[in-house]
Amino acid sequence: MVRDMRGAAPHSLVLKAGLIGGLVGVYVVAVGVFAAFAARPVVAQSLSLGQIMLLSIALTVGWSAADARQGRSGGLAAAALAGVLAGLVYAGVLLMAREAKLQAMFVALTPAALNTGLFGRTGLAALVAAALIAGLAALGGGLVRQMPAPARRTLLAVAIAVLVGALLRDLWISFFANLLGGRWWVSTIYTGNGLSWTGTGVAVAAGLAWQALRMLGRREAGARSTSLIGIALLLAAAILIPYFTNAFVAQVMLLVGLYALMGTGLNIELGLAGLLDLGFVAFFAIGAYVTALLTADSPLAIAHLSFWEALPIATLCAAAGGFVFGLPVLRVRGDYLALATLGLGEIVRLLVVSDMSAPVIGGAQGIVGIPRPDLAGTPMVSQLSLYYLTLVLTCLVALAGWRLQHSPVGRAWAAAREDEDVAATLGIDLVRSKLRAYVLGAAFAGVAGALFATTLGSIFPQSFKLDVSINVLALLVVGGLGSLPGVFVGSLILIGLPEFLREFGEYRYLFYGFLLILVMRVRPQGLWPDPLQARTS
């Protein structure tokens, strides 16, 4: 993982890994992340998320120090040594911090946090404990590095299963309580906020089963049918999990669905046609505002259509916006396009908040009183029904995207993305081809905007900021550019997971940032890449 250390000599590698690891540990305690995570038990009241975090730092230290050039035992010794060093640095600095009473500068360095961070010990005992624990964890990291890849993957699957089982406790309880019709099992699986030992066993078994299924699938079936089975599982989860859980989950999944819808649209632009569009939110806003103006029970409304009548009009308006803006900017190449579209996003947002447009679209007050869509005469009020509407529309858009990808139009996008000159010599009109992708992406963003307006019932300019574009871009990259199932996975992880981790307050964005870096470092092709792209990149 830490590739840039590979060139260093063994002893300096140990020194480096140990020092950096120890200081990262200190940092985690000093900024308060550790305290927040330490309050969250994962396994049987005896292993907290905070401890897991520190252990994984030590594990990473061992991983980095266990250089292959030193041979098996040499690598393990280096790993353990680096871990001991990291533990000493960590405990040493924290002990000094306790003496120096640094809480005035680092508010999170409370005596209680320091006490947990130092395993409830003082002086030499704390140093020895930290060195021992970090050394052992680092030795584990070294061992993991020397393991054959399948064993490593199995271990990772088990670790993820335990974490997911513990951290998404409320989700699982709600899901299985509705599925099994009772809560009698809850106290067996969970104790307090974390997994019990039995629960940990169940999670480990689930992780092992998952890994076994994956390996079996890879061996028995071709890549194509494996990915079909995967898509079927994903779809089943998307349909069933919100149904068997609660309104909160449905609400989060609604947001996930909206982002997946936008992701599918941007996937056409970026994943298929290679257009880096940072102004995507502009078309989302057009779709939302057109829907609001056409349907709202508000003095600003210009018509009182139903959602179903407004949806195609909003989509067309967003597409028209894409056409009008795309015509001039699509003649520029590459990075310049990103800047031009970034400008568009800002223009639309400023127009929406400006006083000039306030009499027409409400300015900062926004538009309220947007009705819910009707289904067979009754309005869809529950979060769950709105979620299913989003899911259906997302699937339709994804299906359209898939059909396009494998049509001459989609192949022309791919060709222009790979090599503009050669694409032109094959008869592909570059501007026209890009415009087509841009307009389609804009139209899909318009659909998402219309849904957004009707599900929230009111819209405000703050909802249409640059971070929407950035979020959609990030979820595409995390999921795997050009891959439709990747869009869902990316949206679930980047949009859904932070919502489920609300108990960690602002620190949940730490997951977001950490995940982005981790994916880019370890799996740059994305979590669920397009099979062909994965093979060649």
């Binding site: 192949r411 060709a415 000159d421 032109a424 010599t425 008869g427 592909i428 062909l532 060649t536």
Partner: protein, 240 residues
């Protein structure tokens, strides 16, 4: 000039890169069904001239006509529809697409029926059996020779009246070059006009009827390929 049957005629064309003049006053012509080669050393301006013909480079003076139509009024993507298709230098295939997707892209300019396309695909796979073995493989994972086959096959899928082959032997092993040139000869035998740009003059001169020699941006020699093979200057410069 071969009169009425002239397919491509380039007359007095200049190509500039800023202040630098890469091609000066170049003229050449290719008749219907003819194989012509443009030979010259690295940097002589061959590729610049080809790119000017294909409208990938603007050109200054002169005219470029294909079937009597002035290409200078057209964009690059309008040429394959007229039957003029380039097979680019350096085997520029679309690496992340499969072999079949690359081939189908070749037919992008045609409004052909499904069966007709399938027939043409079969013909290309027949010409290059290696591609048939690798049909669902990403083009970027092919060997250099296979990529060159794919680039040529992709060009053929456009059903061209004329193919511009830019250095088809570049960077390939002699055994593979023989395979490629065998296929090129088969294409020529079907009546497709060819303009082959080559540094590897010997092979091109063997196949072509006429040849043009380019040096430092200008065409210095032209004539029947057979006589150029024996020309002292050509021998000294390209054949060794």
């Amino acid at each position: 000039m071969t009169g009425v049957s002239t397919l491509l005629s380039v007359h007095d064309v200049d190509v500039h890169y800023g202040q630098i003049c890469a091609v000066r006053g170049a003229s050449l012509d290719v008749a219907e069904g003819e194989v012509v080669t443009l030979i010259g050393a690295n940097g002589a301006g061959k590729s610049s001239l080809i790119n000017a013909i294909c409208r990938l480079r603007p050109c200054g003076e002169g005219h470029i006509r294909f079937r009597g139509q002035d290409l200078r009024a057209l964009r690059a993507d309008e040429l394959p529809g007229l039957g003029l298709v380039q097979v680019p230098e350096g085997r520029r295939v679309f690496g992340r697409l499969t072999v079949m997707e690359n081939l189908r892209l070749g037919a992008f300019c045609r409004k052909a029926a499904r069966d007709e396309l399938e027939t043409d695909l079969a013909a290309v796979l027949d010409l290059f059996p290696r591609l048939a073995e690798r049909r669902d493989q990403a083009a970027g994972t092919l060997s250099g020779g296979e990529q060159q086959m794919l680039a040529i096959g992709r060009g053929l899928m456009a059903k061209p009246a004329m193919l511009l082959l830019d250095e088809p032997s570049m960077g390939l092993a002699p055994r593979i070059i023989d395979v490629i040139y065998g296929a090129i000869a088969a294409i020529a035998a079907k009546g497709v006009s060819l303009l082959i740009v080559e540094q590897n003059a010997f092979l091109a001169l063997e196949l072509a009827r006429r040849a043009f020699v380019m040096e430092a941006g200008t065409i210095t020699l032209s004539g029947p390929a057979a006589s150029l093979v024996d020309d002292e200057r050509v021998r000294a410069a390209y054949l060794g």
